[in-house]
Point group: C2
Chain length 260, copies 2
């Protein structure tokens, strides 16, 4: 049976140097490739929906699997059973949630319509062991007024804008311009946890982490939410907040054309 | 300044052989004792609210600290600052959330009025890396009807009853009888996660884990919720479900007389 397979994968990024294979450390792509080779007996092309930084997590990361140099897998395992079969060869911190057939010309990165990221800020006074390496710990109390300011600032992220102000210094060599469309951006608090979610058609390097750092600057009063539109228009990275640490960032969802 | 201090502590139990010091492995009590010695410069008595099994977690575990053989700490650190000072000497998986003065005759175990445990069951088809060692993975779908059966069975746990049927085999040498009062027991589902919470004046060895295993037996249809009162009255451990794994169990809260 010949088929190209798409996997949705969740991973705790703490132990990995990001998704994409690189020479300096173990990556999620490499571990998935090794599992596929162990399962199918040949080397596979593992193509992901995105690069991710070291320590970043994913709740739903999309990859395609095919025999190296071809556009299909050779296997008798039914498509929906590949998830469990792959999991038998994967460590605890990576799991394939679902598997299924996709068209041979589907590309998990080029075909992305939008992606949703979530950034978690743990706002308890002392560190919480359940959120170690899974959220950014801000021990200064963020009260209701500060949360409202964060929400007002996040609302300014929505729209088709040039997001140069949220691009990592040195990343202006990225191909194309810095115009992206943010479809939704929101800040919510549940107990000690503050969640910032943002959905866009694309993201610049470190964009979500700089947004999260900027929102914390807004909470602490160093950036006024009313200034946000002018700050975005000013395209000056130095006027925004710090780059929030990787450990709080989660790729939540990836959307493709045929999905609602 | 002389004072006896109570700490509330959260820990991820995965790396520990339970709370209580024992010869065969590292325990939470030992790590807390080492941190206290590093901080205060002398050996401390670290007294906990409960024993816990290897791999069990705590969101709020209460311990008292005093200089060994005395009933107070000798320190100039203000009571509420001891939490952060202790955290500087603790690993990522143990954190002191709060610290404060308590009466010299307060005992964190003998003075307990009630405790609340939570047991987490992850009910996704494939394993989820974020819940590895933090929930019991039951891949068989638990639908609405099965959840209702679990809720009906859990309701039968409430009341002053002899809970011998939920006591680990061999633990019948525990002092006292097996009569406990369960004040509340509930089962809730949020997304892929099913949470069983139970509050009681005391718990037998493995009681919550056998209750959780029994509820999963009820979900799968091997135990009928209508039979639960008779099964409890029958006091036969063998008629109940399996002992659920330690990794899903959380000590959520400990209540003392002066707390609401």
């Amino acid at each position: 049976m010949l088929k190209k397979i798409m996997l949705t994968v969740a991973f705790v990024g703490t132990a990995y140097c990001g998704y994409q294979v690189q020479p300096n450390g173990i990556t999620v792509q490499e571990v998935l490739g090794n599992a596929a080779k162990a399962l199918f007996g040949y080397t596979c092309d593992v193509v992901g929906c995105s690069r991710t930084d070291s320590g970043v997590h994913a709740r739903c990361f999309c990859v395609t699997l095919a025999k190296k140099g071809s556009n299909a897998l050779e296997t008798t395992i039914p498509p929906e059973r590949i998830a469990r079969a792959m999991n038998a060869h994967l460590p605890d911190d990576i799991s394939v949630l679902t598997s299924g057939l996709v068209d041979a010309d589907f590309h998990p990165r080029y075909d992305v319509v939008s992606k949703e990221y979530e950034y978690l800020i743990y706002n308890g006074r002392e560190r919480n062991p359940f959120y170690a390496e899974r959220a950014w710990h801000i021990p200064t109390a963020i009260d209701g007024a500060a949360l409202s300011r964060m929400q007002a600032a996040a609302a300014c992220f929505v729209g088709k804008q040039d997001f140069s102000a949220f691009r990592a210094v040195g990343a202006d060599t990225e191909p194309g311009d810095a115009v992206r469309t943010v479809y939704a951006a929101s800040v919510e608090r549940v107990g000690d946890m503050i969640s910032f979610r943002v959905r866009a058609d694309g993201f610049l390097y470190h964009m979500v982490r700089i947004m999260a750092g900027t929102l914390v600057g807004v909470a602490k009063g160093s950036i006024a939410p009313e200034d946000m539109p002018a700050l975005i228009a000013g395209k000056d990275r130095r006027k925004m907040g710090v780059t929030a640490p990787a450990c709080g960032l989660y790729l939540n969802a990836v959307f493709y054309p045929d999905q609602t």
